[in-house]
Symmetry: none
Subunit: 252 residues, 2 copies
DNA sequence: AAGATACATGCAGAAACGTGCAAGAACAGG
DNA sequence: CCTGTTCTTGCACGTTTCTGCATGTATCTT
């Protein structure tokens, strides 16, 4: 059994059954539980699954379900979200990506802020329903379960018809050389489409994502305006990015 | 059974039935009451449920906010939803309208039903994210706050590109002569667009809507396949509708 | 007030985890 | 073809986490 084959099997299982039990898979494939755990750890680090005690679950950041449902985002994400929310101008238009950090941004927006929010995430749209002054525009399309956002041809096409002042993107990996990456090709394409429709694009990246890279590139550094992170300004990765001319907004 | 899976089960139960009895769940899942209590304590500490003596209750929607987790539908709506959910065939495609009754239908769909659901409601999309077998398609457009669904030109246009076996519509008024009505012109247009894309259209109407009418007409009786209601089959309005040749599905 | 039920806590066995290590396979270069 | 390197895999070990039971306490019901 090839390693890649095994990973595919795991991802298939995750999509089909909605969960992976390390012990069962090990028995089924006749390999050690250690290998399964190693694979799951790798997949999780690429943002393709969510590791839990005993196995793994589909990565569904904002999904109603399982433990991924953090009502209260961890401290780092909240701070990043709060800085990002500060970039939104009254009367302006914001394109908001999916994911937990973006959801935290939606929650951090003042209740009575009068602006337009464009999103492809039903979760974020639902979260903004109680902002009476906020004009909401939903980009439709096929919903990708693992990321809980609309992706694919229809969604990308829908994105062509909007434009905004600011785009806030969440990603899986932030790497000085590789750029911004994510674990799914369709998602990457969608994020590109979103970024292309805004005058400025900022990336939301809590510190644990710095220095990591996933399979699919979203954008090179040249095409983004800046990075919002809770990492230390003297962090090695942050300094390499600064040297590359990337504007860094920290939560300090 | 994964610990995370158990927690999800609890949250699902909370959303579906509006309460959790620790003893019952323990028996149902074949685990100790202590584990259930521990889980409930954890969930409560995250603000995901309200711990009470003997079990737990959902937290108020205002607190959780972002998810579809509003209070449980009243009994009548739940019964209507359950009948409606029974119309959905595995492998089929369903167009699901917005509104509380439609949301109840979404919740009543079996967790592992393999079908396609097309909706213009972010709330309903969010509610179906944890159905791994369900293909979700979101119709985008401007979100109308009072009804929390996408309406308007973009949404109607998006609807032109889909088709389904079944459309389930919620309305505000159900009147033997006037037909189906709702309070907003854009919503009415959207509902018409949805109905036009399905082979069959059924209307969801809890009994309190029978005999009432709102300002804008959605569809005349000729264009719908039937009505799903919890009203008595001998109700005056129901009998008038039967006389007009409308198929009535009751919850009895 | 008393019995019943639910609860928190401590504890022990079990299960899952991470790490280091060694055997083996795949690979590159000589 | 041989050799050294790298990567993968499974095992062993100590650690952490989970789960069910027992105990004593709090809360509800009658």
């Amino acid at each position: 059994m090839l390693a890649a084959e095994r990973r595919d099997h795991l991802l298939g299982l995750l999509a089909r059954e909605g969960k992976i039990v390390a012990k069962d898979v090990a028995a089924e494939l006749g390999i050690s539980e250690d290998s399964v755990r190693r694979d799951l750890r790798d997949l999780a680090s690429e943002g393709l699954c969510l590791r839990v005690y005993g196995g793994a679950l589909p990565v569904s950041p904002a999904v109603v379900g399982y433990t991924a449902r953090q009502t209260v985002a961890p401290d780092g994400k909240r701070k990043v979200a709060s800085v990002a929310a500060g970039l939104v101008r009254p009367g302006g238009a914001l394109i908001l990506d999916g994911g937990t950090t973006a959801l935290a941004v939606a929650r951090a927006l003042p209740q009575d802020l009068a602006c337009t929010v464009i999103t492809h995430s039903p979760t974020i749209a639902a979260a903004l329903l109680d902002h009476p002054q906020t004009e909401l525009f939903m980009l439709g399309g096929r919903i990708f379960k693992h990321s809980a956002v609309a992706c694919g041809a229809a969604a990308v096409e829908a994105a062509q018809n909007v434009s905004a002042d600011l785009c806030l993107l969440g990603v899986t990996g932030v790497h000085p050389e590789v750029g911004l990456t994510t674990g799914d090709a369709e998602e990457a394409a969608m994020k590109r489409a979103l970024a292309a429709r805004a005058a400025e694009t900022y990336v939301l990246a809590s510190s644990e994502k710095l220095g990591t890279a996933s399979r699919f590139r979203v954008l090179p550094w040249e095409e983004i305006s800046g990075l919002i992170t809770d990492a230390d300004p003297h962090d090695a990765v942050v300094e390499r990015l600064t040297a590359r001319g990337v504007e860094i907004l920290t939560t300090g």
